[in-house]
């Protein structure tokens, strides 16, 4: 038994995706609803490798960036309607690595009303040196209030200070209400 003749397009599509992931050194891709269980399963893939002691700190940071990025999707992704069903907490995560660094990229839908706030905040973090980031983290830790969704407002700040690399981000406008938010953290090896 094989695929039927009219599946040729599908087979080529799958094989092209596979080749593309290999060329770009992408080791993990997930798209779907990011529940707490999904977050644990995906981060567990990195955690399994933590006994490689020479890279412990690098992998621990990759793990932490994945936890915080996935929890951002879980708590903040704008839900979208499909055939009358709302789909909350949907998003995409992609982990790529080469000899110099790991990159964790997430993508999710946000309300256009938040685009400017997120851009300004991430831009501000990129312009801060490590001492100012530490001060901001401690200030938010002391004075911040947990949101009803359980976020402490610390995720982006902590990703920036633990990785030490610029945060890359972009917004692709979907329609008048929403945009697709793409966020990449880089962890040096």
């Amino acid at each position: 038994m094989g695929f039927s003749d009219n599946s040729k397009g599908f087979i080529n599509y799958i094989y092209d995706r596979y080749k593309d992931l290999k060329i770009k050194d992408i080791s993990l891709v997930f798209e779907g609803q990011v529940t707490h269980q999904v977050m644990k399963a995906l981060t567990g893939l990195v955690e399994e490798q933590l006994d490689e002691v020479e890279e412990y700190m690098v992998l621990r940071r990759v793990y932490h960036v994945m936890v915080e990025s996935l929890q951002n999707i879980n708590r903040h992704a704008e839900s979208y309607e499909y055939r009358g069903h709302p789909y909350p907490g949907m998003g995409l995560i992609l982990v790529a690595k080469n000899s110099e660094r790991f990159q964790v990229t997430t993508g999710n839908i946000v309300d256009n009303g938040y685009v400017e706030d997120i851009s300004m905040f991430l831009g501000k973090l990129n312009n801060m040196d490590s001492d100012r980031l530490d001060d901001l983290y401690k200030q938010q830790l002391r004075d911040g209030v947990l949101s009803p969704k359980g976020g402490a407002g610390l995720g982006f700040i902590d990703i920036k200070r633990k990785t030490g690399n610029p945060l890359d981000y972009s917004f692709v406008k979907i329609d008048e209400e929403t945009s697709f938010f793409i966020f990449t953290s880089t962890i040096s090896r």
């Binding site: 707490h36 644990k40 002691v53 412990y56 700190m57 621990r60 940071r61 793990y63 932490h64 936890v67 915080e68 929890q71 530490d134 983290y137 401690k138 830790l141 002391r142 911040g144 947990l146 359980g150 976020g151 402490a152 610390l154 995720g155 902590d158 633990k162």
Partner: protein, 126 residues
């Protein structure tokens, strides 16, 4: 006071608060789905303990990982110990981190800067 003991899971730490045996410890991983639901019993227990604590309380924190939401609740715990110190009680926080985990060592130093409680920093090999 009765002992509070919480068994660890794959996303929440082991907790034991046992005044009779002078054992106070939180260890393991902390990234529970709802940090408030997990930590509220711990905070409630410590708030009650604060009124009549042991002569000396050594609280051991040996976390291998905590997320940012947990960091907020860890600060809340430490602030209860700070109140105990303010009321003249003898408290020591023992912060244990793995030798190879500089971020965890750094987190301990940061908490020490933020609250007025004596800290002991200990590193261990895996």
């Amino acid at each position: 006071m009765e002992t509070l003991k919480i068994e660890p899971t794959d996303d929440s730490p082991f907790v034991v608060l046992d005044p009779e045996n002078n054992r106070f410890e939180i260890s393991g991983k902390s990234l529970p789905e709802d940090v408030v639901v997990f930590y509220q019993p711990v905070l409630d227990w410590l708030t009650a303990y604060k009124k009549e604590p042991n002569t000396k309380t050594e609280f051991t924190i040996k976390l291998i990982y905590f997320n940012t939401a947990s960091s907020k609740l860890i600060l809340d715990i430490l602030m209860i110990f700070e109140e105990m110190v303010e009321e003249g009680h003898n408290v020591l926080i023992k912060w244990l981190s793995m030798q190879s985990d500089e971020d965890m060592q750094e987190a301990g130093k940061e908490y020490e800067e933020m609250i007025d409680v004596p800290f002991g920093h200990i590193t261990y090999e895996l």
